[in-house]
Structure formats: C-alpha cells, structure tokens
C-alpha cells in the first residue's frame, strides 16, 4: 500500500512539470490557433540553457529559471517573426509545417553543437525520507516551481492589461482589433510567453533527468496529451491535467509493467479526443 502512495506522489511531482510544459502549448494554440511544433525543441533548448547557465554560475539552479524565462521570451519573439507571423490566418497545415521547419533547424544546430550525448545539471537538493521511500529534493523543488510559474501566468492573464488583451484576442480577434488592441503585438507576446513556458519546463526537467538535444520530443508528446485532456487555451486547466496525468501514471505503475504506460496514455488520449473533442474540463470551465 505504501508503495502505491509513494508511486503516486512521485507521479504527482513529475506531473506538475508535464503541466507546465503543456501550458505553453495550450496558450499558443488557444490564442492563435497554431499548433506549435517547435515546442519539443524549445524544451530541449531550455534544458541546455540551464546547463550553460549552471556551468557559468553554480548557484541554486532554481534561481536560474529567471534568466531562462527571459531568454525564452526573446527566443519566442524571434521564432514568431521568422516562422509564425506570416502564416497566421492561413491553413493550419502552414503553421504546423513552418514551426516544424524551425524545429528541424533547432535540432540540427543543437546536434552540431552538443551532439546527441546525454548531459546533466549536477545540482542536488536533499530529499525527504519517509520509511523506505525517499522523495528526491529536486523533484519537490521542480514541482513547486512549476506550480508557482503556472499561477503567475494565471494572474498575468486575469489581472494585467496585456494579459486581458491576450484573452480578448483569443476570444475574438476582430472584436479586439475594433477595440484598439493591436493583435499582432498581442499574438507575438502570447507566442513569446508560450515559448518561455516551454523553456522553463525544460530547465526544470534538466535538474531531474539527464537530457540530450532530442529529449524534448517525449515531453512534446506528453504536452499534446495534457493539452487535449484539458481543452485548448486553458493554461491553468493544462497544469491541473498534467498533475492528473502524473497521478494516473503513479497509480497504475505498481500493477503493470511500465512499458505499457504509453499504450494506456495514448489510447486514453485518442478516446478522450474522439469522445470529448473540447476537452474533459470543457463544461466545467467554459
């Protein structure tokens, strides 16, 4: 019994990081109807960003999240102007492909610089031991940081002018423009925030697990699952759904081989998608 509990706590902790990653995807998708396929590559860049910063400034790794977020915002603006701005309003295929093209370029450059060998951020916080089980200090800290960032985003969207503008554009772009909101600026800002969220989740993951430039792909897949479970354009919903997904993983693993988890997860994903195309929380929050 204690084994299941421990497993669920482990799942809950990692789930909040899945949630943070998915928030970025969900925000961009909801606001501008773009499925951002640079997501995984940006998560990987977040990992390497943390790696580089930590090598230069070996302080508490979680303090370094701030510069990663700042760099993520700039990167987001850059990607927006290179690949996204020109395809807004065109078919969904265009933005899928243009972001995928950027994804290939990032992975290509990353491979040339770092090869595909695994890297580590050697920073360890002390864990908490309960009975035979020890909960890793980094996992606790990363989960905490993910929740804080998630709540900060929610505050930003509901309590600040630019945040409200983002929500207005997401609801109805034409009406927002009539109200004098420059939709281009708002879209660029939303995209940048989405990228910064992805980068920050990558930075958190880098303190937990070793990573390569290709590691982002797996988290991108998880982000899709989480986003669909939560419904589009609901960043806080994504955070909650991420935590739930982690809990589910934790609750199931004691009973079956871990290699079956992807089948359950993606099977569930397809079924939910077909049964509730607007997300499980659609009714609750709409």
């Amino acid at each position: 019994m204690s084994g299941i509990l421990a497993s669920m706590i482990d799942g809950l902790l990692i789930g909040s990081v899945y949630g943070l990653a998915a928030m970025g995807l969900s925000l961009i998708w909801g606001v501008m109807d773009v499925i951002n396929l640079t997501h995984g590559a940006v998560i990987a860049l977040g990992m390497f960003g943390m790696y580089i910063l930590f090598a230069a400034f070996p302080v508490n790794a979680y303090l370094l999240l701030l510069p990663v977020i700042a760099a993520g915002l700039l990167l987001g603006l850059l990607i927006y102007w290179i690949a996204v701005h020109w395809v807004i309003g065109r078919s969904q295929l265009s933005s899928l492909l243009s972001t995928f093209a950027v994804n290939m370029m990032i992975i290509g450059i990353g491979t040339a610089i770092w090869s595909t060998s695994p890297y580590n951020v050697n920073f360890t916080l002390r864990g908490i031991t309960v009975g035979a089980y020890t909960f890793d200090g980094n996992h606790l800290a990363a989960a905490g940081a993910a929740v804080i960032i998630g709540l900060a985003l929610e505050l930003f969207l509901y309590r600040t002018r630019p945040g409200k503008a983002i929500r207005a554009v997401a609801d109805n772009r034409e009406a927002a423009e009539l109200m004098g909101i420059s939709s281009t600026m708002v879209l660029a800002l939303a995209f940048a925030i989405g990228i910064a969220l992805a980068a920050s989740s990558g930075a958190l993951v880098s303190t937990l697990f070793p990573f390569t430039i290709l590691s982002g792909a797996g988290y991108q897949m998880k982000s899709f699952v989480v986003t669909v479970l939560a419904g589009l354009g609901k960043p806080l919903g994504a955070l909650v759904a991420g935590v739930l997904l982690g809990l589910l993983e934790g609750a199931v693993t004691p009973f079956i081989a871990v290699s079956w988890i992807p089948l359950i997860e993606f099977g569930l994903f397809v079924v939910v998608l077909v049964a509730f195309p607007k997300g499980i929380f659609a009714r609750a929050t709409a």
């Binding site: 084994g3 090869s115 695994p118 980094n138 290699s259």
Partner: protein, 400 residues
Amino acid sequence: MKRLVLAVFVLVALFVTTGFAQTLTVGFTVSNTGSMNVDSVEQLHGFELWRDQVNAAGGIKAGGKNYKIQFVSYDDESNSKRVQQLYSRLILQDKADFLFSPYSSPLTATAAIVTEQYEKVMLTTGAAEGKTYTLGNHYLFQMFTPGAEYLKGVLDMLKTKDPKAAVAFVYEDSSFSVSVVNPAKAYAQQLGFNVAFSEAYAPNTTDFSAIIDKVIASKSTVLLGGGHYADGSTLARQVYSHKVPLKMVTLLVAPDSPKWGELGDAAVGVIVPSQWEPQTAFKAQYGPSGADFAKAYAGKYNTPPSYESAGGYACGLVLQRAIEQAGGPDTAKVAAALNATDITTFYGRTKFSTAANEHGLQVGHAMVLAQWQKDKSGALVKQVVWPLAAKSANLVYPIH
C-alpha cells in the same frame, strides 16, 4: 655504365620486394548522432588508434608487400534505416576491402545482411547479441563475448558472497540487454537465488522512479540490469537519490565508460561486466601489451580507454594478423585465416566458432567484472574484482 645498370637493377629489385605501400580501405559507420553516440565514438577511437599505429609503422606487411590502412565512414544516426544503404555504398562505391561493424547489435545485424551478400569480411565489435550468428553467415566474425555470458560471472561471485540475496532484474528492452538478461535469469534460478523482481523498460526511459518504487516494494537486495550509457547512468543516479537499500548494483555497458566517474557518489560501488579492463594483464602473443595500449590511447584522447575502445583496437589487430597470415588481402584467404585464429592479444583470447550453426561467434574471449571504488585519496577508480585470479582489488560488498 655497368655500375649504373647495377644500381638501377638493385633499385628495381628493392622496389619489387618491399613493394610500394598499397592502400587497404576499411569501411564502417559510426553513430555520430543518436542514442549510441557515446559508446560508438569510443569504439571509433579504438579503430583510429590502430590505423594510426599501423600506418606509422609503415603499414601491414603481408606477402612481401606493405599495406597502408585508410578508413571510409559515414554517420548512421544510431538508426538501422540507412545502414544497408551506407554499407552498400562502402562496398561498391568506396571499394572497401574489409568492414568493421557499426556499434550495437541491431545495426550490426542489419549491416551483416549486406556484407554477407557481397561476401565481404566484417569484424563485429560493440555487438554482443548472439542471434545474428545463427542466421547462417560465413564472413562475419565477432570480437565481443556473446550476451549470454555477461552476467554469469556476477551471479557466480554473488553466490560466494551472499547466496540468500534477492535479485531484481531491471533492464533495457533492447536486443542486447534481453539477450543478456534472459539467460542470466535462468542461471540465477539455477544457482538458487530468489528472483524477486524483473522488468524491462523502454530504451529511451529517463524517469525510473516508478520502477525504483517497485524494486523497493519487492525487497530486493541486489540489482542487475541496465542497457547502454544514457539509461544506465540515469538509473544509477536515481537509485542513489532514492536511497534504495541495495547491497550490490551491476549494470551493463554504461559504467565501463570513463565518463561514469562524473556521476560522483552515485557511481560508487557499481559493477560492470567488462570485455576488457586496463588492469587485466594478458600476456600478449601479438600486438602491444595492455599497458602500452592504454598509454597510447590516453596520450591521444586524454581519457582512459573503455572496453568499446579496446574492442575497436583489437578488431583492427585481429584483422591485421589475419591479413599477414593470409599473405595479402584476398577475402577468402583472410576469412580462412580468421577461422583458424586462436590468439591472445592485450584484449585476451580471441577464437571464432567454425560450427555451421554459429559461425563467427566469439568462443575464446572471457569477461571480467570491474567495480567503481574510492581509492585512498578518495578518487573514483575502476577496479577488477572478478575473476579472483585477475583481481586488482577486493569486491566491496555490501556497497553501503
């Protein structure tokens, strides 16, 4: 006039007998990118050191001629999809005389289909899985001890230390690890161990917490398994940070890499079944001694050799000897010389099976066990702990 004729005659005679240095092309693919990158590049360094030393000595001398070695290689991206395209290219376009294998069992098995078709000799290293050799090949020769042998030594050693140990197998679901663990599980039961837990994980796993929780719940005292570098190093870290009460951890492949020391405290006590360690002092009948190889390698690459590197170098050495014995690079003669090979080099004994149902399988080479230990100054070093005859330090058991 006479003198001049004589001089020319002598010169020509010299030329004919010593020969111009001809060039032999050896082809292979390397995983410059992808999941096998670390191990594959170590193997490549072994190949390269051999080539450089042979060429510096004037080439391979066989049948009165000198053959310099040149390499042609491509990136296989750790993916078997392009391996056949690239090996065909190596054979047909680049006119490779001999081939070395890619790193890892699946890539090697895929490449073997092509090399066998063209009846080209391929020495395989970094590929321990044995199934490939039962498929009816004639020109494939394995340098590594096959997978079924990897964990036998550990279980024998454990039997002497702690026959009541509860064993957990946690291993990568890849052809190599499965070919290691399945026979090991049977052997453990045969030795009377309690196999308390056994589970395979997907090759790209980074989060082991679920499996670790299950290992704790199973009350296992010994963990055997792993796969390659990326997953093995991660597993060791997380076992350490979750403070799993284990008396012994043995992982495949990963702990042999010199990079393992970077794990710090998580590295301590971990055991690896190894094809070769610098401390194993085999009396080399051919080629350099182990110490000379390790020194030359460290001089060139600023890191001690792993067994992948040693396997790569030994691969070249065995080919070199076979060419010398065959009196030239003729494929059929070299294959015959390889069939007859039974030699001890710095890497240990090498002998290939000539039985029809397992032709080319390595049957001469034996493995050792190495454990990461702290020396007196507190630095992490890899010590040979088994077999007892070859040990450089005593086994630390239990670890904590």
